[in-house]
Symmetry: C3
Subunit: 243 residues, 3 copies
């Protein structure tokens, strides 16, 4: 499954909706047992959530957008498919989150391909289920530091802290992901799926229980003048960079 | 305490019952403060649960067997004794579980002495209290990967991931275990026991609360035709190997 | 903020009260955004709880003292300030606990500067919120071993297990702590504070819920004849050492 939303694979409402529908189809099609998540455009895995969906819109739009983000996570994290992330580019915030939902992460060895949940740098806060996905991957202490500082890890650091499972030369990311996939495919499917659910169920149940509150919380937070202002400043900077 | 049930120290109903009674005696005898768990037969620490107890029998037998497995864990995990595992052989599945209940694990440095919870390879699923014992030892992420893939770790890998605390040459396993034991014995007993309970109580309480459901779940799962078939296939393979 | 209570910076009732009041002031003064905790007397960061407050007094005094210990932790652990520990000396028990509440720990590279929760060596047990602070920092397995054995880690071991974040030459502790502080100060305050609370709230809420029971538990435990005796023996030894 290739992420494609030029120029930086932002998770726009449209892309989120496509991903959720695509995953649902694959999940129900018994001929598919695994998915490799990668980017159609090497250099950026995904720039994460689309700030233009969270800036200068009305509360109803924020709510619709956030529901789609929740939906994607709820599709990915407990997926019965084997999910392998072939991370062939930078992977901040929502891009990092997507890779954290996978069963295995392969990252291309390029110092520009940083990965992490850098929300605090934008003046916003990663929601609790981003936190849970991270804590389940790298543990409590490393998460506390990474989330507060909004750390973006280089490939070597990401491997060291456990954010990814393997770092390989850029031209071997896809082949490595494929061979990882065949290794996971060799396990009896039913036993593997039950085991995965056993590991992730508590985290998913907690999210579902808090889903409405999380939605309200997001809409209230993002609608604040101070937050809107800091997002606008950030967006302006991005535009100037590109210009 | 030496495990002895030729040829591979399978945890038969009889061996489980003996172990539980033996541990109960040691626990109540105030002259004993610690136990070293090892194998009477170097080469195999324990092959784990006895598949012949879980294959081709009736539900009442499965229930009796599973109660004995639960009982052993409930004796070992919160034991007030100092438990040191002197792992002098391969230690898959239930063998690994026993070592995970100990306070310290010493593994002989022999590439054949693999250790891990490899249930998925047999098409079955490790119960939640196997998972909890593993997560408490090697953390969430490493457990997720190890349990889904049914990984059996070599000594070097086991040390790296934290599955064991020390790897030593094969002829030094017992002496190392003894010196570890004397180190732990030097701590005031009462304070050490209260501290151990503080660390393990939540895990034990959760298991006791879910004990009946876990029993029902096991009997239903193991009685399924598909599971019985895959166990029979596995047992046939084992017989041919030996033959 | 410099700890000063000669000769070893024991956390006497007086020092605890001063610290709590001082932290409250800093927390409410919006011109302060961070605090570096260090010792006025290099060589001892803090010897931890003051045994003379817990030995040979009456239950009312034990209760008053323990409330002050709880209060300090409740001020430090969820503090909205950035807390950096510049650990310029030995840091056993309560000294270690204080450093565990910080956001970052820098330890001077001197083999005498050991750090850890060594309560079991005195025949007592670290309370559950000491445990939680440790588990959140170094994980479950390392905590289980460290707490049972009352381990005091050397700087190299402390870094290895994750008890501290950085070990530097003794004359660079303060400058390193300052540069760490400016790194943390660069993050938007509001987002950082919300993120910190998200990481620590569950631990703090659990402590508050159990606060009264923990107080009762401490007073009962410390009032026991056997515990008083072992503390007296320990205090005598300390006096002879100094003498």
């Amino acid at each position: 499954m290739k992420l494609r939303n030029p120029p930086v694979n932002s998770l726009s409402l449209e892309l989120l909706t496509e991903l959720v529908i695509g995953l649902e189809k694959l999940e129900n099609d018994k001929t598919f047992r695994g998915v490799i998540l990668t980017s159609d455009r090497p250099g950026v895995f995904s720039a994460g959530l689309d700030l233009t969906e969270m800036c200068g819109r009305n509360p109803a739009h924020y709510a619709e957008y956030w529901k789609a983000v929740q939906e994607l996570w709820l599709r990915l994290y407990p997926s019965s498919l084997v999910l392998v992330a072939a991370i062939n580019g930078a992977s901040p915030a929502g891009g990092c989150l997507m890779s954290l939902t996978c069963d295995y992460r392969v990252l291309a060895d390029n110092p520009k391909y940083v990965i992490g949940l850098n929300e605090t740098l934008l003046g916003i806060v990663a929601p609790f289920w981003f936190r849970d996905s991270l804590v389940n991957t790298i543990g409590h202490r490393a998460s506390e530091r990474a989330l507060q500082l909004g750390l973006l890890f280089s490939p070597a650091e990401a491997l060291q802290v456990g954010m990814v499972d393997q770092v390989v030369p850029e031209d071997q990311v896809q082949s490595t992901a494929l061979s990882v996939m065949s290794r996971w495919m060799a396990i009896p499917d039913h036993a593997r799926q039950l085991t995965k659910i056993m590991m992730r169920k508590a985290t998913v149940d907690h999210m579902i229980k808090q889903r409405e509150a999380d939605l309200q919380n997001f809409v209230n937070f993002i609608s604040r003048d101070s937050i809107q202002k800091s997002l606008q400043v950030y967006l302006e900077k991005l535009k100037q960079k590109k210009g």
